[in-house]
Homo-oligomer: 355 residues x 2
């Protein structure tokens, strides 16, 4: 079993070091190989996703990913910016199914912006399509406007698009996931305005016929953004496209108050997966030793379960994390009166000890 | 002075009746003419935006709009659905600048999903571009995928696009508005992925040179969806495109807990405007006499101020609304223990009395 370790930028290396420590402490036999990605790879090799890193990722059974991005690369040409690395990995490996759980950990209810009664026990699974939509649609670029009220003016444009098989496979992933949970899928679209999402809605409705035991509801994206704030517990599995999923999954994780705790998985149809924390590279706190490593550690647990067939090891990690929280240990992002503030490394050490 | 009154569907007629009553009670001289729109117009005339309604809207100095939409029209062809009426009005009248204030009324802090300290005193202005972007971009439709991993498969697609003059004018509107408020503009984009929004960011940055007294910050749309939840009071004026604005403005209004109180305005470059409540047609409670008419009444106030040059009358209405809230009167959506629950008509009557 081979794991590609891609720490990346900002707090990436710090949080990854703790996750690797936890993986090593399990006493299992797998190979871990580290490679640079994002800004770090640009510095080292002139490209955010060097050939060697891509090859490692393709050959590995699973990828553990830290985070990429830093303002200092904002002025680079688009194809050299750190974000291109994660977009490239998704596309090259066909990682079309992104799982973003938004869970409110019992002990962290107070860290949420929302009133406790709205988030206590929250457990939503957002499934975002990750290799299609306006993220990758061609054509795109700049040109002179071909028509419209400002024909001839300088213009930029992108193409939103989804094919039937792309919608079908992500819908199946959502229905299958819902079967193992609350048996309800909310498909989020903007069918009242977009051709792409009228088609999305039609195809999801068709696929639903194979899952009569699961309830399907349709919701417009603007309404979904509201309902997540108003009554997040009404959701079970939410499935949507790449662009809407980017926005709604971040909104939902922030609702929990503990985005620093939330793992994510991006899978392809071979079960290969990329696992990463839901939070970003946070360059403002990089190198300070205060970042929360738990989302990365929990991403490693997800990886053991979904790509490495080691569910028992996954459970051990999850139990260890629960235990350190119960001990009252907190990094700065989730700290509150009466708990003990610890740094990145201390948190990692505590998880290892709890194993 | 001529006002087009377009009640529309669902709770539209009920809430509009109260706003008209309030306008009449002002004792000012203006003509009001009512016309059907949305599903109501489809029933009456076979089209959601009949020629006569469009002409009335074009000739009027201002439009007071209720709401459109009902599930029962979901099966109609797209161009006959109620939503097309509002999209058509925006496009035909060139109503490119949508103002959506998200204000947390002092007496309604408790109605928010967010903790009181996060929303007390909240006063954000979201400015959404309303006549461009993927809402109107051509080409769009269905076809056989021309390329990509699923070339040949059935596909639906849309075009996102913005020209320089479209971005420039909405940026100016935002900077001008910020000058009269907190002097800060947050421009929301997705420049790390979309050509359209890299261009948006570049043009907004250029326009900013004419407004050195206003602070400009750029934020990715996924981050904006998070920051609205985490620390909404950090925003002053938020400006963004049509699609992102649709999502973020609804999220922001729901944060206040009193979307039933929030007016909105959509203006063109002649000062003509369409005024409507931020909430929708709520077909589930239509005809029950329980909808909150205050957002429509406050939209009428905005109309008096921005399109009819009657700022004193606008203030009278706003003061009257404050007074009925202070009296403890509440419709169901904002009701809480210790306040008096009233229906749509009673609320309208109370505002008239307070005038
Ligand atoms: C970095 C960026 C390209 C990326 C995205 O938009 O997908 C990020 O926001 C995410 O959600 O993983
Ligand atoms: C009804 C719909 C077309 C419309 C939009 O998406 O603009 C609505 O959501 C709005 O925000 O006014």
């Amino acid at each position: 079993m081979k794991i590609a370790i891609l720490p990346g930028d900002g707090i990436g290396p710090e949080i990854m070091a703790e996750a690797v420590k936890v993986l090593q402490a399990l006493g299992l036999r797998f190979e871990m190989e580290t490679a640079p990605i994002g800004g770090a790879a640009y510095e080292a090799a002139g490209h955010p996703l060097p050939e060697t890193t891509l090859r490692l990722a393709q050959q590995a059974d699973a990828i553990l990913f830290g985070a990429v991005g830093d303002w200092k690369y904002d002025k680079l040409e688009r194809h050299l910016r750190p974000e291109q690395a994660i977009l490239g990995l998704r596309k090259h490996l066909g990682l079309f199914a992104n799982f973003r759980p938004a869970i409110c950990h019992e002990q962290l209810v107070g860290a949420s912006s929302l009133k406790p009664e709205l988030v206590a026990g929250l457990d939503i699974l957002i499934i975002r399509e990750l290799t299609g939509d306006i993220y990758f649609g061609q054509p795109r670029g700049r040109r002179s406007a071909p028509d419209g009220a400002f024909a001839g003016a300088e213009e930029a444009f992108d193409t939103m698009r989804y094919t039937r098989p792309e919608i079908e496979r992500i819908a199946r992933v959502a229905f299958e996931a819902a079967r193992k949970r609350g048996k309800k899928v909310t498909s989020v679209d903007k069918a009242n305005v977009l051709e792409t999402f009228q088609f999305w809605k039609d195809v999801v409705t068709e696929v639903h016929q194979d899952y009569p035991d699961v309830t399907l509801e349709h919701m417009y994206v603007d309404n979904a953004a509201m309902q997540l704030v108003k009554a997040p517990k009404n959701f079970d599995v939410l499935v949507t496209g790449n662009m809407f999923g980017d926005i709604l999954s971040d909104e939902a994780s922030m609702l929990t108050g503990s985005i620093g705790m939330l793992p994510s998985a991006s899978l392809n149809d071979k079960g290969q997966g990329l696992y990463e924390p839901s939070h970003g590279s946070a360059p403002d706190i990089a190198g300070k030793g205060i970042a929360n490593p738990l989302a990365t550690i929990l991403s490693a647990a997800m990886m053991l379960r979904f790509s490495l067939a080691q569910p028992a090891a996954a459970e051990r990690i999850e139990a260890a994390v629960k235990q350190v929280l119960a001990q009252g240990l907190r990094t700065a992002d989730i700290w509150s009166e009466g708990t003990t503030r610890v740094g990145t490394r201390e948190m990692g050490d505590a998880v290892v000890k709890a194993l």
